[in-house]
């Protein structure tokens, strides 16, 4: 029981970094970004490519950073590049938002396969973020069980705090304005196209970072895993945001993290109650639907009373 919850939290939090990316594209930019299904495995592909390349670490100022840590910023950069390309296809070549994401997603399928070298690349025999000499020396005895969760929590927290801080900067405010009120951006003499490209870059960077963590956590890269990522992210964002709408003190990013964990919880419940495999997706959909309807209901009722 405890380890089910542990698993739900671990996986939910890894996916929550991806959901933060979807939060930027869907909730802030109002951009249905299909790139996600390609950039999530892209992060994993880059990670396993680096880890199986034989490079064990990179020296920075005399300090050797192991490749599993280098993989995280690397995945972010490569994912951001994919986001920039989607943005350029949309903004500069005037391709519709959905289509430009689909173009990039399709291209990434081949790129991921080329980068990883195979559709299934295991990294069981290598150190990773969660299993390395440092972790095993710091966490001993009972703490061992929670080491993975703590590391994930730490990474998610850093991502969340940086994203929160960024959204409060000038550039972040412009980003938020593009989705809500594009004219406002233009009146500030800013190019809203460039702001969109920047938003897509950050979003896909986060998504690829999440993909990198996932590959390291499950110790295998699987090309097919990307399919459906966007749906998971959207569900997490919508569930998280609608559940916490009334609580102004809960930041949107926190809501998204909660949403992602709840989504994983729904799947665990469906499996746990012995649902047949064929029903699993339907049950997950039903649980999400119930949560959404319940949180929507209130809004309507409040409106009626008013």
């Amino acid at each position: 029981m405890e380890s089910i919850l542990l698993g739900v939290f671990e996986q939910g939090m890894i996916y929550s970094i991806m959901a933060m990316g979807i939060f930027i594209t869907y909730a802030i930019l109002d951009f249905p970004d299909m790139t996600t299904d390609g950039s999530f495995p892209l992060g994993g592909a880059v990670t396993v490519a680096l880890m199986t390349s034989g490079i064990t670490g990179i020296a920075v100022f005399g300090l050797v950073i192991p490749s599993y840590i280098v993989a995280l910023p690397l995945a972010f950069i490569v994912g951001a590049a994919a986001g920039v390309l989607t943005g350029v296809i949309h903004v500069k070549f005037k391709v519709r938002d959905l289509i430009s994401g689909i173009i990039m997603m399709t291209a990434l399928f081949t790129i991921n396969l080329r980068v990883a070298g195979s559709a299934n690349v295991p990294i069981f025999s290598r150190d990773n973020m969660f299993m390395n000499p440092l972790v095993s020396s710091v966490f001993t005895g009972n703490g061992k069980k929670y080491s993975t969760l703590l590391i994930i929590f730490f990474v998610v927290l850093i991502c969340k705090l940086i994203l929160d801080a960024y959204l409060r900067t000038r550039s972040g405010l412009l980003l938020r304005a593009v989705g809500d009120n594009p004219q406002f951006v233009t009146t500030l003499a800013r190019d809203k196209g460039n702001v969109k490209i920047l938003g897509l870059a950050i979003a896909n960077g986060l998504i690829a970072l999440s993909g990198s963590l996932m590959a390291q956590w499950q110790r295998v890269f699987d090309l097919q895993q990307g399919t459906g990522t966007m749906v998971i992210g959207l569900a997490s964002v919508i569930v998280g945001m609608s559940l916490t709408k009334g609580f102004s003190f809960i930041r949107a990013t926190t809501a998204v993290i909660l949403g992602s964990i709840i989504y994983r919880g729904c799947i665990a419940i469906a499996i746990r109650f012995g649902m047949s495999a064929n029903d699993l997706k339907l049950i997950t959909a039903a649980l999400l639907f119930v949560i959404l309807v319940l949180s929507r209901e209130k809004k309507k009722k409040v409106a009626h009373h008013a």
Binding site: I267, S276, K298
Partner: protein, 367 residues
């Protein structure tokens, strides 16, 4: 105020759902789990019945009074071969005296080709403290190993084409931990020999495969290595989705004397399309397992997945009963293959199948 109260209600419902999750586990632990819906009672195969009751089995029956073993089956997808693996696995356990419903509980879960789900299934097995996890197909085997390695639960895999490539075996041939199982690498040698016997004049064999299917890669390498020995030249075309198959099939069929299949899921799912086009050109298509011959391939040297599962089940029983340790057992490959023929297809193509093959075929389809 009202609004907030209702928000609390919905968050409360989420909490209830989470508690439901916990409740579900407790319930699982105390109640007898529901057996797989397809077959409530395991039918013991003739082979299993014929197997002599070994001392181990007798010992197991004695032990059954005290100990009920729980085995979690983490299956990656739902299709004929993998289902046969699972049925064989349960039969193999029964052959060694571990009978479902008596001294064995089976918790069967299917990941529906999603490795994320396979991960969650494996974690739930670990938290239920099953005695052994059986991973069917590569991603499920990997997910099971990842979850179980932290909890010292043995994992037995089956239908993994290349345990080396999946890193379930170390390069030196030893197991990386409490994990072992069986591989379903195709008997490519037997297949090429058989094609040579049926078509003495053939020079070029066409193969279609999906570039994103990990299991197809080691098979292609094997065929490339073996084909020259039998005087064949390979024409290999990679596809990325099922939609590419008609075009790819047309291209390949223009160049080759016959085609052969791997266990590539995308290609096998589109087999009727390929067969249609090949039949129009009178080009024979060879399959890789019985089901493909049934629907219209000329012949196949395939492994029997039921048998593969049985071998796996026997290994699992040895581990459960303490006769062997998973880390010491070497993974197994089924050496012999079974020949399947389709005489109706042979007639349509105007091919005479040599007597030697007809007499050795395990199953011959007439219509």
């Amino acid at each position: 105020m009202m609004k907030k109260g209702l928000r609390f209600l919905s968050i409360g419902i989420c909490v209830v759902l989470m508690i439901g999750l916990i409740g579900g586990c407790v319930q699982k632990a105390t109640e007898t789990p529901i057996p797989p819906t397809e077959e409530p009672v395991v039918e013991v195969s003739p082979e299993a019945e014929a197997a002599p009751v070994t001392e181990e089995a007798a010992a197991a029956e004695q032990a059954s009074a005290e100990k009920v073993y729980t085995v979690g089956i983490n299956q990656f997808a739902e299709h004929g071969s993998l289902d046969n693996c699972r049925e064989g696995f349960i039969e193999g356990l029964a052959a060694k005296g571990l009978i479902e419903g008596q001294n064995l509980k089976i918790d069967y879960q299917n990941a529906q080709t999603d490795i994320g789900i396979a991960n969650q299934i494996a974690q739930i097995f670990v938290s239920n403290k099953v005695d052994l996890i059986c991973g069917i197909a590569t991603p499920s085997a990997q997910a099971s190993y990842n979850a179980a390695s932290k909890a010292n639960i043995p994992v037995i895999y089956t239908a993994v084409t290349s345990p080396e490539a999946a890193e379930l075996v170390k390069p030196d041939g030893t197991n990386p931990g409490m994990i072992t199982g069986t591989s379903d690498l195709l008997p490519a040698k037997a297949q090429l020999e058989m094609i040579r016997e049926v078509l003495p004049e053939a020079k070029k064999i066409g193969i279609l495969y999906t570039t994103s299917e990990a299991n197809s890669k080691p098979m292609i390498e094997l065929y490339e290595k073996l084909a020259p020995e039998y005087g064949f030249e390979l024409v290999i075309k990679g596809i990325s989705t099922g939609a590419d198959i008609p075009t790819a099939a047309d291209t390949v069929l223009n160049e080759v004397d016959c085609m052969t299949n791997l266990l590539d899921n995308t290609v096998v799912n589109s087999l009727p399309t390929i067969l249609d086009k090949a039949n129009a050109k009178k080009i024979p298509v060879f399959g890789s397992e019985i089901e493909q011959v049934r629907i219209g391939c000329l012949a196949a040297e395939g492994i029997n997945y039921l048998e593969l599962g049985r071998t796996t089940g026997e290994m699992a029983a040895d581990v459960l009963l303490g006769n062997a340790k998973a880390e010491d057992l070497k993974f197994q490959t089924i050496e012999e293959s079974n020949l399947y023929l389709n005489e109706k297809v042979a007639k349509e193509l105007g091919i005479t199948i040599p007597e030697a093959l007809l007499s050795r075929a395990v199953e011959t389809f007439q219509d």
